[in-house]
Amino acid sequence: MGDMMNTVTKSVLAAAAVATALGGFAAPAFAQRDPAYAAARSAGQVGEKMDGYIGIVGAETPELRKIVNDINIKRRAVYSERAKANNATLEEYALTAGCQAILATSAGEKYQAPDGSWQTRGAGAPQRDSRCP
């Protein structure tokens, strides 16, 4: 029994090591972006909006619309729950999350600047609403 557990533990550790070596990261599977969403993000086809949701940056396609709607519905559910827990409105919480999500963009990703235009995140700080922390 002890030997078996040991073997299992070793196997899991080995698998994790291989996954880390291959992927370069060891984030749990449930926390990863859907590949289509990840691809659209890095291609700059979708971007972070000021209101806490994502939007289509260039020409709209049914595929992009589906990705954006899917993410935004899920975000809205999370915002709604957290807003309630913090005695805040959905809009207040979403706008705050928008501040943070824009700050969390990686270089090359798109975000919406306070003038409403789409910007590409550079190495420096993004342009954000003056109320953002």
Binding site: D51, Y79, N86, E92, Y93, L95, A104, P114
Partner: protein, 64 residues
């Protein structure tokens, strides 16, 4: 702040209109136009929620 400026500009424009006898001049604003999304949301509310929102993003990395 922006509202005060805007009101000031409108007042100035109205004065100019009266002074010039009905001639209206519209000047483009020198500062970039900023869309204040949800102007009713105050900065202190955003500051209060900031930490929780940051955690929410980390905990739901698949949709952010």
């Amino acid at each position: 702040m922006n509202h005060a400026k805007l009101t000031g500009r409108m007042a100035a424009a109205m004065l100019a209109t009266v002074a010039l006898g009905g001639c209206i001049t519209v000047n483009a604003p020198e500062e970039p136009i900023v869309i204040e999304l949800n102007v009713n949301i105050r900065q202190e509310v955003i500051y209060r929620l900031a930490e929780d929102a940051g955690n929410t993003i980390e905990d739901n990395a698949d949709i952010f």
